[in-house]
Structure formats: structure tokens, C-alpha cells
Amino acid sequence: MKFVRTTVLGAVMAACAFPALAEINRPECIAPAQPGGGFDLTCRVAQQGLAPQFDRPVEVTFMPGGIGAVAFNMFNSTRTDDPNAIVAFSSGSLLNLITGKYGKWTENDARWLATAGADYGVVAVRADSPYHSLEEVMAALKADPSKVVVGAGGSVGSQDWMKAALLLKAIDGDPRRMRYVAFDGGGDAIAGLLGGSIQIYTGDAGEMVPHIDAGDLRVLAVMSDERLEAPMDVIPTAKEQGYDVSWTILRGFYMGKETSDADYQAWLDAFRTAYDTPEFAETQRSHGLMPLDVSGDELKAMVAEQSATLRSLATEIGLIQ
């Protein structure tokens, strides 16, 4: 099943230093979507970042269908032990998995390999908003959640919505009582915030950078455990402001469940070697991601933890019976 193929940048190939290991003779990264989206970017991080690790460029192929379901099904039916292929995933894919949109499969039906990087949730308001701190937002939400119009780029129950729901959970509110407006992607939601349709936007740190420079909106909190890199380093975390809310948007790769340990290890080594280079961090930044290098069992644990949070929230609001 080879679809659209893209060849790789000759320039990066010149940097070939390490010969390929094990049986990976035709490395391939599958973006389970059409070209141009987030999964495409994720695969390009692998393509560019792992270029020195293989003597052939990592090919990017696209396998759209069912918001990732088609690819997940394939790696659980015909390509369960493919040594050459890794598939891009995000926290959104985990949510789809646990809410049953991928069929009967769960987070235990893949070998989680490594991250491409991460992004973090943020709470943002327009520059002229009366809210100046997360505390003021939380107070308003606590007083009457139906008086505050919150919006984000995904439907109720999507991972964009989860960020807003977690805010309400932190003050023992009921996410279902939130007045939530679902936009079609982050761009439309930011337009809604700037135009005054919504008062609070729960978005991603990556898309905030240009707006911080321009000063047209104000970021009140980042949902990360520690402060982010410049220029986001001036934004306090939600935890600093006394609310136990964090939301990491993982972007990474998985392999088929029955991939042999040797093949899995070869990919793992490739990622870990790349993680140690400054070029990889640069690749992450240039693709709009914050550096977050997690692989192997550590990633598996992180996926399990995030799935558990999502599952309990989804159950609570009735997305899972």
C-alpha cells in the first residue's frame, strides 16, 4: 500500500554519518492523513531528524482515512510486524483510540516508539480582555460557567475540548455546563477570539508565538509542568498559579504490535542517537514543536497515563458508556 511518495532533501543526505543498523533497509514514516497536516509535519521531523542515522532517506507516505483509523487497523491486520515502517500519532489519536473510533483496538495494540516533540495547552484571551490572570478566569468559571464563552478548534470531546474541560475539573466544575464553542481548527478559533465571538481560547503554545510578538492576544497560562522556552518563558504555568492542570500534546510514532525486539530496538537506537544531537532539537523547533524526547518504555508509560486521564474524562461526560 504505497501511496503518494515524496523524496527527500539531498542536502541533508550529505550529512550521512552512521550506517544503518539491523533490518531497516527501507525506512518509511506513515502519516495517517492527507498531506499538509500535523501528521505530515510529524513525519517530516523523522525524515529530517533521522537522516544521519540511515543510509536511505526516510520516505513519507500518506494513508488517510477515518482520522487515523485506517492506518491503525492496517498495523493490526496486515502489517503487524513491518520492520521498516513507523506511523505518526498524536494525543488526538489516543483519544480516538479510547473512545472506540478506531474500532476494538486499544492503546495496548501498538508498540509506542518515540516522540517527535510536544506542544502544550494554553489559556489565551484577547489583548483588551478584562481577564488578566488565570485566577480571574477560574473565578468567573466557578461563579457561573454558563457566563463565560470558551472556544477551541475541536468538537466537544476532542482533545482541544479536553483542555477546557480540565480547567473546569481543577475547580470541581462540571465540564458539561461549560459554554463551549467548537471551531474548525485553531486558525478559525483564534479568529473567533480576535473577533470577540469567544472570551477564552484553549489552544496550543506553538500557535501563540506570533501573536505574543504582535500583542493582539494575551496568554494567561501554559499547561506544562515547567515554563517553556523563550519567547513563551514569560508565561506562568497553571501550576505556578495554583491550579493542578497540565496538558501535553504528544506527537510521536508507533510500530506494529508484533514488531520484533531487534527491529524495534534499531529504530529506538536511531531516535536516541538523534535526540543527543543539537540538530534534532533544531528540526523540532522548525516544525513548530517543543523539544520533548521520550522513547521506549518511558513513552509507553506516558501513553498509558494520558490514556487513563482521557478515559476517565470521556467516561464522565458520557463519550464512553
Partner: protein, 496 residues
């Protein structure tokens, strides 16, 4: 004003370098071809060429100039297969089939192709001029356009489409409802509930607009051709060397101006693009022409309106992209991603931080529109001759193009079955004397209408009053009423 002139000077300095000129020309040429091929539209063209532009190590402004050339070039080229084959080359060219193809069947393919090329050129150029002069101002208007205003815009769109109601209003209504129903398939954008997916994962993301267009129009046309051939009803078309006349342009001047303006404004709004723009302008022009028009049988105004509008909307969609970093259409969303790959943060500061990119792109669009006209007019004769190909070559050619187009882009075999299924559905509808345009328009406008209505109601907490609170929406409701009532009054007065 001097700021604009300085900016333009910078921009032309960038765009007129021999290398960038070559890229504009190449982008426009490739875009025309991509647009002309049914199945591949601007979105896919840009997405495919993005990694190549990156791999070539182009500087960011050159890459953007190339990719944007493909974008508006495709809006230019989409008309070719609409006119010649009755198969829309891309989503924005659906309305072009309605009058373009009848003209070709009357032996005026050359005239239709050249008129639409000039309409596209005028639409594109008017839009770039407006963008240069009012870009930043318009972007403020674009973000202030709230979900409730979109609802009003959709009401206006539906009202102007009431003109599509032909001899049989019931069938038009049924067709539009079928379009609305197709639009509800997939994960609901507001609640995340899956609708009509029947457990099929391929349906979760809904049916792509392209699939509906190629299935309902392309495949259905194909089945129709095969059927005619089998029953021996097929007529060979006369060889045709018609060309645009100056009188055509003079006759349609107001249509061109109106459609360019409307198309541009709809393009500037994030969330609506070429397909809505061409539908609204076609409906409006048909309404205005009233009894004097022969819309649907090859009226030049019915050809000019959607072509001027879809090119104007492509330029309009660049306005929020350049001034705010917010995509004005699916294709501009990919262009934004391209900037990111080149380490350029798109956003409100693009004009100040990277004037060579923002102004270079704008300047290249002036050049690109001229290049497109120069490329397209001499090719008219060549394309028109395609129609003299015997049907037994042409029919399989359309089939191959449609299948390869869909498969190479969407890359999912499920979609191939989908277009066949929709094609059979479309063919049956045609047998029953349904027009397919209302189905497509129900499909496009329906989901926009639903999502924005529900957004507006969640903003207001369920208060319907929000729908009539802004001057924009009141203005649009006013227009909607006018577009329905004025022709009625006019025709009554004429009778009296």
C-alpha cells in the same frame, strides 16, 4: 498610501528577479494543468509540490510565490474540464459547468474558454488590487465576522440559489436536501458524535467535497456518455474555432465587476472559499438577469460570474493569511504550514518582519494573473480541439483521469468505490431529470450553515436573538430578501 507604494516597490523588486519570474510562470502553468485535471484541485497540488519546493532549497519568498502560483493557477485551470467535459476540474468550477458546457456543445468551446479566461483574469486582478489597497482593513472585518454573521451569509447564499429552481421546484428542493444529508455524514463538529457512519472508519471524517464532485459530476457524466454511445444517440461535435469577442466583455462588464467584488469578500472570510463564492455569484447574476437570461443553456454571464468569483476568492483568501496568520481557505492553511517549514512565523507581524515575503507574494500575483492570461489564451484552440476526439477515446480518458486523480491524492481505495457509488446515484438522478447542482450546493452550504448556527447558539447560550444582532447579518438578510423579491416585482411590472 506611501506605505503601500513602498511595499509594492519592495515586492516587485523581489517578484521581478528572473528566477522568481520563472517560478511564477512555472507555478501558473503547473497550476492550470492541476486545475484542469478532474480530481486534483489546488489543495492537493500545493500539498504535493510543497516538499519539492522545500527539497529544492528555494528561499521562502520564492517557494511561496511558486506555491501561490499553483493555487490561483488551479482556480484558472479548473474551468477547462468544466467547459469541455462537463466535469468540474476542481471544487470552485462546479458552477462553471452549468453554462460553460452547453456553450461547448453548441460549438462555442473556444469562445467559452476564452471568455472564462478573461473573466478569471479580471476576477484575480481586481482582487489583488483590493488586497493591496485594503488588506489590513479587510482582515479586521474578517475576524469580526462572527458565526451568527456566517449564518446570515448562508441564508443569503440559499436565497440567491433559489434562482436555480428551474421548471421543477420540488426536484430542486429534494436535490438540495440530499446534499444536506450527505453533509451530515461523519463526526459531528460540535459534539463529536458520529453520524451515519455505520461503523465504517473511512466515513468518520465525512465525505470529502472532491469525492462528491467527481462522483456526482464526473462519474455520472461518464455513465451518461457510455449510455448515449451504446444507444447510438451520441452526436459528434462540430470543429470549432470560435473566440471571445470584444462585445462579450462589454456585455458582461457589470457581471464581471459584481462577481469579482463578491468573490473577493467571500474569499477574505475564513471558512468560505471558491465554491461558495462561485455559487453565490452565479445565483445572484441569474436573479439579476431574470427573463433576459438564458442561464443553464449557455449564457455568457453564467460563465463569467463563477470564474471571476473563484479567482477573486483565491486572492481574497490570502488576506487573512498574510495579515493575521489565519487561513482563509484550506489551501492557504497549507501555505501557512509551508511558511512554518521555512522557519517563518506567519502572523500579524509578517508585513513588518518579512516584507519581502508578504509584498513579494502580492507583487507576484499581479504578474501571475497576466502570465495566466498569456498562457491560457493561445491554448484555447488546442483545448477546444480535444472535443473532436472520438468519444471512445475521450470517455476512458475521463475515467482514467478521475480515478488516478482521486487515488493519487486521497490515497484511499475506499474513495474509489465511493465515487463509483455516487456516480451511479448521480446518473439515476439525471435519468429522473434532477439537476445535480442543488445537491452539490446543499452539500457545501449545509455543513457551513449547520456548524455556524450551532456555534452562534452556543455563544449566546441558546438565545436565537444573536442571529440578528450585528449590522453585517441584518445587511445580508436584507440582501437575501431583495434577491428573492426584486425579480418577482420586476416580472410582475413587466407583465402589467
Amino acid at each position: 498610501m506611501s506605505e503601500v507604494l513602498n511595499g509594492l516597490a519592495t515586492g516587485f523588486g523581489v517578484a521581478l528577479s528572473p528566477f522568481n519570474l520563472m517560478l511564477v510562470a512555472f507555478g501558473c502553468f503547473a497550476g492550470t494543468l492541476i486545475g484542469a485535471l478532474p480530481g486534483i484541485g489546488p489543495i492537493n497540488g500545493v500539498a504535493i509540490l510543497l516538499p519539492i519546493a522545500y527539497g529544492l532549497g528555494l528561499p521562502p519568498e520564492s517557494a511561496l510565490i511558486l506555491l501561490a502560483g499553483i493555487y490561483y493557477g488551479a482556480e484558472f485551470g479548473g474551468r477547462i474540464s468544466s467547459i469541455l467535459l462537463n466535469v468540474p476540474g476542481d471544487a470552485g468550477a462546479v458552477m462553471t459547468t452549468l453554462d460553460g458546457n452547453p456553450m461547448a456543445r453548441k460549438g462555442e468551446a473556444g469562445r467559452a474558454l476564452s471568455i472564462s479566461a478573461i473573466a478569471s483574469f479580471i476576477g484575480g486582478t481586481v482582487a489583488v488590487v483590493l488586497m493591496t489597497l485594503f488588506g489590513p482593513l479587510l482582515s479586521k472585518f474578517a475576524v469580526a465576522f462572527s458565526p451568527s454573521d456566517y449564518v446570515a451569509l448562508m441564508v443569503f447564499a440559499f436565497a440567491s440559489l433559489a434562482s436555480l429552481v428551474g421548471a421543477n421546484p420540488v426536484k430542486t428542493l429534494v436535490g438540495a436536501s440530499m446534499g444536506l444529508m450527505l453533509a451530515t455524514i461523519g463526526v459531528d463538529a460540535n459534539t463529536g458524535v458520529t453520524r451515519y457512519t455505520f461503523g465504517v472508519p473511512d466515513l468518520l471524517a465525512g465525505i470529502d467535497f472532491l469525492i462528491v464532485v467527481i462522483g456526482l459530476f464526473g462519474m455520472a457524466e461518464l455513465f451518461h456518455l457510455v449510455e448515449q454511445q451504446a444507444t447510438g444517440k451520441l452526436k459528434t461535435l462540430p470543429i470549432d474555432s470560435s473566440f471571445v469577442k470584444w462585445a462579450d466583455i462589454v456585455f458582461g462588464r457589470w457581471t464581471l465587476i459584481r462577481s469579482s467584488l463578491i468573490g473577493f469578500v467571500i474569499g477574505v472570510l475564513p471558512g468560505t472559499g471558491a465554491s461558495v463564492a462561485s455559487a453565490v455569484t452565479y445565483g445572484t447574476e441569474k436573479r439579476i438577469a431574470g427573463k433576459s437570461g438564458t442561464f443553464g443553456e449557455g449564457d455568457v454571464r453564467g460563465l463569467m460570474a463563477p470564474e471571476a468569483a473563484n479567482n477573486a476568492s483565491a486572492a481574497g483568501a490570502m488576506v487573512p493569511m498574510l495579515t493575521l496568520g489565519i487561513p482563509g481557505s484550506g489551501t492557504t492553511a497549507i501555505l501557512l504550514g509551508a511558511l512554518l517549514m521555512f522557519n517563518i512565523q506567519p502572523g500579524p507581524l509578517l508585513f513588518t518582519q518579512h516584507p519581502e515575503i508578504a509584498w513579494g507574494l502580492i507583487a507576484s500575483m499581479y504578474i501571475g494573473n497576466i502570465a495566466l492570461l498569456i498562457i491560457n489564451l493561445p491554448l484555447v484552440g488546442l483545448f477546444a480541439r480535444m472535443l473532436t476526439l472520438p468519444q471512445h477515446y475521450l470517455t476512458p480518458l475521463i475515467a482514467i483521469l478521475a480515478f488516478i486523480g482521486i487515488y493519487s491524492i486521497v490515497g484511499n481505495p475506499f474513495d474509489l468505490f465511493m465515487i463509483i457509488g455516487l456516480g451511479i446515484f448521480g446518473w439515476i438522478l439525471r435519468k429522473l431529470d434532477f439537476s445535480l447542482a442543488p445537491v452539490i450546493l446543499g452539500f457545501v452550504l449545509g455543513s457551513l450553515f449547520e456548524n455556524n448556527l450551532r456555534r452562534a447558539l452556543s455563544i449566546s447560550g441558546g438565545d436565537w436573538g444573536i442571529l440578528v444582532q450585528s449590522w453585517q447579518s441584518l445587511f445580508l438578510y436584507g440582501l437575501a430578501v431583495l434577491v428573492v423579491i426584486v425579480p418577482l416585482i420586476l416580472s410582475r411590472r413587466r407583465r402589467a
